[in-house]
């Protein structure tokens, strides 16, 4: 179980952030992608690679042994390196492991990165579990979420246009993010074109490309020893991971799991949904932002669509949802995604997000779900 307060016993901070732009699959190697993000994070933190005590690499698609051949090109220092796989939450879990390692006192400065390149398929293990189902092969992830959209829209009398407005907002945010895979402003008509499944259209489904993201996690001892700029160090006040429990028949597992994991994170941080200024959620499909806004308690059941329409979840609203563009526009290269969310939250809390800055951002959350199902939530706060 999550030991309450393990992050307050020995506080941990994100002191450096770096990204390689998310993009369509290219000839660039994962080594090059990953090194770009880590080098940028080291420069951002003002620390040297030789200051790093350990590394966690979140990746779901690269295969075994990805870390050393990449990171040793910064200097073969012999530090412990571990790959972390947790489906779409792989990067989030690499951040969680880095936080745990620093909070435990074993290390003072740890890098968590995510890197991936798309392959033919996801190669997900549940398909190999030997548990056949009636719909085998006909229901892929976008249809899973199209079905959740159908149920939600019927229950709350929400229209296709209202759900599509999530994507309009996130594409607009992504247009301001130089690291986003999709950087175009899209009209409601453009978002509603090109149906994929149910009410979901192409622009309401995230692109799965390649990229990398890195964060450097440090203790106060590490910050003091290395002379890191304290004003740019953002504290991680909650790190919660849960897997799907046994819910009542028909209950949407993604939202139920998000509600539980979010509640655990809020409890650990001593904060509540009204404290959030920025929120990066797993908006792989537009409907998810509505489901998770409600599951995380930012609004009442059925209210999320009207809150989107009122601009309340825009940059400048009460809580900026997916200011990076989210998975819908920034992209979902799998391993990097959860780390990239933390990068965006840190940038926002530092007041360094430029044209997509949420004013006076002091508390932010990063939320991922993944096949399994797993959910990982981090809350960060400006000290």
């Amino acid at each position: 179980m999550n030991a309450p307060g393990f992050l307050s016993t020995r506080p941990v901070f994100v002191v450096g952030i770096g990204l390689h732009r998310y993009q369509r699959r290219s000839d660039e190697t994962y080594v090059s992608l990953g090194l770009t993000a880590v080098r940028e994070a080291l420069v951002d933190a003002g620390v040297d690679w030789t200051d790093i005590d350990a590394a966690y690499t979140g990746t779901a698609l690269l295969g075994m042994g990805a870390s050393r051949i990449m990171l040793s090109r910064l200097g073969a220092t012999g530090i412990p390196m571990t790959q972390v796989e947790n489906a779409s939450a792989s990067g989030s879990s690499s951040v969680a492991q880095a936080c745990l390692e620093v909070a435990s006192g074993r290390s003072d400065v740890v890098v968590a990165l995510g890197v991936d390149k798309p392959r033919g398929g996801l190669g997900a293990a549940p398909g190999e579990a030997g548990i056949a189902n009636l719909e085998a092969g006909s229901i892929v992830p976008f249809t899973h979420f199209a079905l959740l959209a159908s149920e939600y829209m019927h229950l709350h009398a929400v229209t296709d246009e209202q759900v599509a407005k999530v994507a309009v907002k996130n594409h607009r945010n992504g247009s301001q993010n130089p690291f986003a895979q999709r950087q175009k402003i899209r009209t409601l008509d453009e978002v509603l074109a090109e149906p994929i499944s149910g009410s979901l259209t192409r622009l309401q489904c995230c692109p799965v490309g390649e990229g990398a993201a890195a964060v450097i996690i440090a203790s106060e001892d590490g910050i003091n020893r290395l002379g890191v700029d304290r004003s740019r160090a953002m504290q991680v006040v909650a790190s919660a991971t849960k897997t799907e429990g046994l819910y009542a028949e028909g209950v949407g597992i993604d939202a139920a799991l998000t509600a539980e994991t979010g509640a655990a994170a809020f409890h650990e941080a001593g904060l509540g949904p009204s404290d959030l200024d920025v929120l990066e959620v797993h908006d792989a499909f537009a409907i998810e932002e509505l489901l998770y806004a409600e599951a995380l308690g930012l609004c009442k059941p059925g209210e999320a669509a009207s809150r989107i329409e009122s601009g309340d979840f825009d940059i400048g609203g009460s809580c900026a949802f997916s200011p990076s563009g989210g998975l819908l526009a920034m992209g979902h290269p799998i391993g990097p995604t959860g780390v990239g969310q933390v990068v965006e939250v840190v940038r926002q809390l530092r007041n360094e997000a430029g044209s997509r800055q949420q004013p006076n951002a002091r508390v932010g959350m990063a939320h991922m779900v993944g096949i399994g199902a797993v959910c990982v939530v981090h809350i960060l706060r400006k000290p």
Binding site: A132, I139, A146, L147, E151, I196, S197, S199, G250
Partner: protein, 131 residues
């Protein structure tokens, strides 16, 4: 020549067809699909399960028409639904026709999908709206 279900442990090709789940003898949990490993509710091994017949009848909880698919079958567009079976469990399945809506009553029926080497007809389950 006989009629065989594509997934014989999930489906009995009777008229009307029967969906096969499991019931845990220890905790009485009824689940679909039948699991070869153990009980998610109480942790009993699958040796503690009995086979449990479920009527292929229920109501539509959610429905989506699929326009893009990564395989040639089923041909697009096709409709899938989340169905609350009258016997408890929830299944996802293909619904024939374009009249399914949330709340529709549906029933299962068999469609021939294939033929094996010796001429046996392989059938699979579809649902349709009942008025």
């Amino acid at each position: 020549m006989t009629t065989e279900a594509r997934h014989p442990h999930l489906l009995k090709p009777t008229n009307p067809p029967i969906i096969v789940g499991h019931r845990c003898i220890s905790c009485e949990q009824i689940a679909f699909p039948p699991d070869p490993y153990g009980c998610e509710k109480c942790g009993s091994p699958a040796s503690n399960f009995e086979s449990w017949d479920l009527e292929a009848r229920g109501s539509v909880r959610a429905v989506a028409m699929v326009y893009r698919h990564h395989r040639p079958t089923p041909p697009t567009p096709f409709t899938v639904a989340v169905i609350d079976l009258v016997g408890g469990p929830v299944v996802k399945a293909i619904v024939e026709g374009d009249d399914a809506a949330v709340g529709s009553s549906v029933e299962g029926f068999l469609v021939p999908e294939d033929q094996d080497d010796v001429g046996n007809v392989i059938v699979d389950l579809r649902f349709r709206v009942i008025q």
